[in-house]
């Protein structure tokens, strides 16, 4: 998943985070929440839909998701009512959700004939079509969508490039075919296939797919000061909070924000790597393959689509799970909050009793902003040195493989693949026993975690910074 440029959709979402957090901070969330869309979307603000009223209706749905509520199942509840019911008692929810009012029902016909069609004499398209789906009507080729098998031969044959391949951005982004359309031709997520990787959220130009989050819950906990919170920074955090903002400064700022503990998940990653190396040694003896388990989206894909391979997944807990467990063992009054670039971790946390909340880098930056903490203006720092290179390099694709190569000196082969589409192909090969290695590192996002959907800087820059930080300890 390469990072998209920051579009108006993203900006609006981030502004919403800030405004909601300001309401939490001033204790006016319940009181003011119903007026928020009116305040933020005025007649003058740029509009993408028919009228400001529709914009506001969509915005209200978005607010529900930011508060952690599923939109579809809370359709009839008012914002006020939902805000009043916070903190949510029930953890279970869908992470990725379609805002149906925002979905533009993009065309679902895969091939369409454009006006560039000249009704030429050759009719290469008609000839190329294996199922006779193309007829000429009113001097223009026409594709009978009932007959079309979406092979694309007509598009390749046309001398004028007049036939367009047209795919919805959300379903194109989804490597697992988890997005179909419902009876209103709006996007629909197949829960059996979705791994919450977040690709569709980034891909939709209408901002019609969103994630439900813990941000407001975390803010309520922070501002109530009744609870003690522990921040767990994903190994990919380095450099994500601004140009030249050091890890030490980030730790200091998090404490200033109200976190009692600040830990590197990379420390958990070291434990994960050690445990996984033991498993790997066994697999080498048995001449079998081990699949990495730290990326929840990859793991979920194996469980969903390759049941027969699920026994190959490492049983080792993920770095997030290990870190959270360690914190709870030391002090079970602390609530644990994972901070990362990942939507799939939100899903993983729902099933883990030790992880209380997950927020993303952008959500944390909104928290800083709402709290008037400007990292660039801070000159103090607090040393962050929980982990070494074996854990810290988990942040980028190939890092886990490298750590295991250090830990397991036996003679074995391993492979590293990032990107769900490529991983899926590789799993078919493993299923057919056509692989010649004992270990596969699978990362759903291209580039690994630093390429995650909520990453704030480019993969290239992030990798360099993570490597520097890893080598510094």
């Amino acid at each position: 998943m390469s990072r998209n440029t920051i579009s108006e959709v993203i900006k609006l979402k981030r502004r919403l985070y800030i405004e909601l957090l300001r309401l939490v901070k001033t204790g006016k969330l319940v009181e003011e929440i119903s007026n928020l869309s009116q305040k933020m979307i005025t007649k003058e603000s740029p509009r993408y839909r028919c009228c400001e009223f529709k914009e506001r209706a969509i915005f209200d749905q978005r607010i529900k998701a930011v508060m952690g509520f599923n939109i579809a199942s809370n359709k009839d509840k008012s914002l006020e009512e939902l805000a009043e019911s916070l903190p949510r008692q029930e953890k279970k929810r869908n992470i990725v959700e379609v805002i149906d009012t925002a979905c533009d029902s993009c065309p679902i016909d895969k091939y369409i004939v454009t006006d560039a069609c000249r009704n030429c004499v050759a009719h290469k398209c008609v000839n190329a079509c294996p199922v006779n789906a193309i007829v000429i009507i009113q001097n223009k080729a026409y594709i009978d969508q009932d007959k079309c098998v979406e092979c694309g031969k007509c598009a390749g044959a046309c001398s004028y490039n007049a036939i367009l391949e047209n795919q919805r951005p959300c379903s194109r982004a989804c490597e697992l075919d988890a997005i179909s359309s419902d009876s209103n031709r709006q996007a629909k997520i197949d829960r059996e296939k979705c791994v919450s990787c977040g690709s569709c959220i980034t891909a939709c130009p209408f901002g019609a797919i969103t994630e439900t989050g813990d941000l407001i819950q975390v803010a309520l906990e922070l501002f109530s000061e009744k609870n003690s919170l522990a921040a767990m920074l994903a190994p990919s955090f380095v450099g994500q909070f601004g140009y030249q903002q050091s890890p030490a400064k980030i730790k200091y700022a998090l404490k200033k924000l109200g976190f009692e503990e600040v830990r590197e998940v990379a420390a958990g990653a070291e434990i994960t790597a050690a445990a996984e190396s033991k498993e790997l040694k066994e697999k080498i003896m048995e001449e079998k393959t081990l699949l990495s388990s730290c990326c929840p989206a990859f793991k979920r894909m194996v469980l969903n689509e390759f049941e027969s391979l699920s026994c190959l997944i490492s049983n080792t807990d993920s770095p997030m799970a290990v870190t959270a467990k360690k914190i709870k063992n030391e002090n079970n009054k602390l609530k644990t909050i994972f901070i990362g670039p990942c939507t799939a971790k939100k899903e993983e946390a729902l099933q883990n009793e030790n992880v209380d909340y997950v927020i993303t880098f952008e959500e944390l930056l909104a928290l800083f902003t709402a709290h008037n903490i400007n990292l660039a203006a801070i000159e103090k720092g607090e040393k962050l040195e929980d982990a070494g290179v074996l854990g810290r390099q988990f942040a980028y694709a190939g890092g886990l493989q490298k750590s295991l190569q250090e830990l397991v000196t036996d003679n074995y082969n391993s492979k590293q693949i990032d990107g769900l589409g490529r991983l899926k192909k590789e799993l078919y090969l493993i299923k057919a026993k056509k692989n010649n290695y004992n270990f596969l590192e699978g990362m759903a996002c291209v580039g690994g975690c630093i390429g995650g959907p909520s990453a704030m800087i480019s993969e290239k820059a992030a990798k360099k910074l993570v490597q520097n930080f890893a080598d510094s300890n």
Binding site: I6, K11, Q244, L365, A366, L375, A376, S458
Partner: protein
């Protein structure tokens, strides 16, 4: 000596709204153009965080930017 000064705000609100993209886009500028610019960073320009990201180019402040807008500003105002 470069004749132009570009100051990019790297404060948290600006970073959240895309300051890092602006910095990256400067690194990708044509070398002939890049050589004419003295790049600086600032932790806050003019307190206009609501209109982030913000830059100052040759003394003038520009708000609510993206890499494309910034490129046009540089092209049109470079000395």
């Amino acid at each position: 000596m470069p004749k132009n000064t570009l100051k990019i705000c790297i404060g948290t609100p600006c970073h959240l709204m895309g300051a890092s993209e602006l910095l990256e886009s400067i690194a990708e500028l044509d070398q002939s153009l890049r050589d004419k610019i003295d790049l600086k960073t600032s932790h806050c320009i003019d307190d206009c965080c609501e209109q982030a990201p913000v830059v100052e180019f040759n003394g003038k402040i520009y708000q609510d930017l993206n890499p494309e807008k910034l490129y046009k500003i540089i092209r049109n105002n470079i000395r």
